[in-house]
């Protein structure tokens, strides 16, 4: 069976798995943003926390993904559903680029700018939301982009624990020794990664503070 035949015959299933994949990646990226950006901001304010937080995120990232899925399996509530487990694991992986880029982005703001802002009487929150975050936005977004592209690839492995997504086709193809089936999972995943990379890359450029005009 060739690739195109397989794709046309199974397009509903492929579409469903693509949506499932997108859901896992989307939710985990949102969760990682909700956790990682505040953590990144926190460590710019509490320098003592910087090393332990970055180190922890670093260590998480070095755990092989299959092993991480395995570790999380016995967790209560999370372990009950493969989808939840996959989302948690992907969230943990996505944290490092977000924390690191948020930290680097804020630290990279010209000290003359932050000092002028403080000297003029901006409160800490005004400094953060009106000066630091807007100026760090493109670097933070670069972190989102790295996380998301990585998650799209990693999410294929989540199928190994039954979380669904495009990995399901890849594993099925591997078991059937059928390249067409593997490709039916791999190609949409690769396209998704490319699309995420392009869209977020475009946004990143738009948010860059040095834009002309």
């Amino acid at each position: 069976m060739n690739f195109w035949n397989f794709v046309t015959q199974n397009r509903t299933e492929i579409a469903e798995l693509t949506l499932e994949h997108l859901w896992i990646v989307g939710i985990s990226t949102l969760l990682a943003i909700a956790i990682g950006i505040p953590l990144g901001i926190l460590i710019t304010r509490k320098p003592a926390l910087q090393k332990p937080v970055i180190a922890t995120a670093n260590i998480i990232q070095t755990i092989p993904s299959l092993a991480l899925f395995g570790f999380l399996l016995p967790a209560p509530w999370i372990g009950e559903r493969a989808g939840r487990l996959a989302i948690l694991a992907l969230t943990l992986y996505a944290l490092l680029p977000l924390i690191r880029n948020t930290y680097a982005g804020i630290k990279g703001v010209d000290t003359a700018v932050t000092e002028a802002a403080r000297g003029m009487g901006l409160t800490d929150w005004q400094l953060l939301f009106q000066v630091e975050l807007p100026l760090a936005a493109s670097i933070i977004l670069a972190g989102v982009r790295v996380s998301m592209v990585m998650s799209i690839g990693l999410a294929t492995i989540a199928a190994a624990i039954g979380a669904g997504g495009l990995g399901e086709l890849i594993f099925r193809g591997l078991a059937m020794v059928n390249n067409a089936v593997i490709l039916a999972g791999a190609v949409p995943a690769a396209l998704m990664a490319l699309a995420a990379d392009t869209i977020l890359g475009w946004l990143e450029k738009r948010l860059s503070p040095q834009r002309a005009g």
Partner: protein
């Protein structure tokens, strides 16, 4: 607001770093309302430190600073800073905001109505000699001299009675610097702010200062009017005067 009441008093003020090094020793200094007090000194003399103690970017280790008769530490720090304009050599314009929004920052965080902010921005642009149409541009599109004018305009944003200036013209080429110094003098004649002006440049000190306070290694050496300064028997002052040469031309220009 003529600022004539907006005095600043340093009373036995010391500042030490966390490593124990003392940057300022028992500074006693009186900045009178409406004058330009120049803090003159070489790098490391403590002049910038003294300046930052006023708007509490640094907190004094000992002693007390009175702002309009009230101890700085009794002021709400945000209120205090919005009451004091601040301009620095590096300017620190917000690169992501237009010139208009840069100048309007303090009025806007003070919740002025939009029309009033816009009117104020135009007024300030005229005051510092910039064209109105610059409002929608971004800082990186301006020349160094224009940027520093914007920096001064921004410091004047909400019409603070006190102005702190830390070598604001130090990074400019000599001609632009000279233009801005003269413009600033004539501006001050209109505005009568209480100004503390930090510089290491004796020419600038002589030109701008109502009085000059010379700092050396964290101590106040002397405080004089520019004319007294030239005649002072103080050996360090004599050294400065020697190093900078004749001042007749500078004084004549005022």
């Amino acid at each position: 607001m003529d600022g004539s009441q907006a005095g600043i008093e340093f009373r036995d003020v010391s500042y030490s770093l966390s490593n124990g090094r003392t940057v300022l020793h028992n500074l006693n200094l009186d900045v009178r309302g409406g004058e330009i007090l120049v803090l003159l000194g070489r790098s490391g003399s403590g002049k910038t430190t003294a300046l930052k103690l006023v708007n509490r970017l640094l907190e004094a280790s000992a002693g007390e600073i009175l702002i309009e008769g009230r101890p700085a530490r009794d002021w709400d720090v945000i209120r205090l800073r919005r009451h004091i304009g601040y301009a620095i050599q590096e300017i620190g314009l917000f690169p992501h905001l237009t010139i208009g929004r840069n100048i309007g920052v303090v009025p806007s965080i003070e919740n002025w109505p939009q029309e009033r902010i816009q009117a104020r921005v135009v007024e300030l642009l005229n005051l510092v000699g910039l064209p109105d149409d610059i409002v929608s541009r971004y800082p990186h599109q301006l020349s160094g001299g224009q940027r520093q004018r914007v920096g001064v305009a921004r410091a004047l944003g909400a019409d603070p009675p006190i102005l702190l200036m830390d070598e604001p013209f130090g990074a400019l080429d000599p001609l632009t610097r000279s233009d801005l110094q003269r413009e600033f003098l004539s501006l001050q004649q209109k505005l009568r702010k209480t100004v503390v002006f930090v510089t290491h440049d004796l020419h600038e000190a002589m030109l701008l200062g109502t009085r000059i306070a010379l700092l050396e290694e964290g101590r106040l050496v002397a405080i004089n009017t520019p004319d007294e300064f030239l005649k002072s028997p103080e050996p360090l002052i004599a050294k400065y005067v020697q190093a900078f040469g004749s001042f007749e031309s500078v004084r004549g220009a005022r």
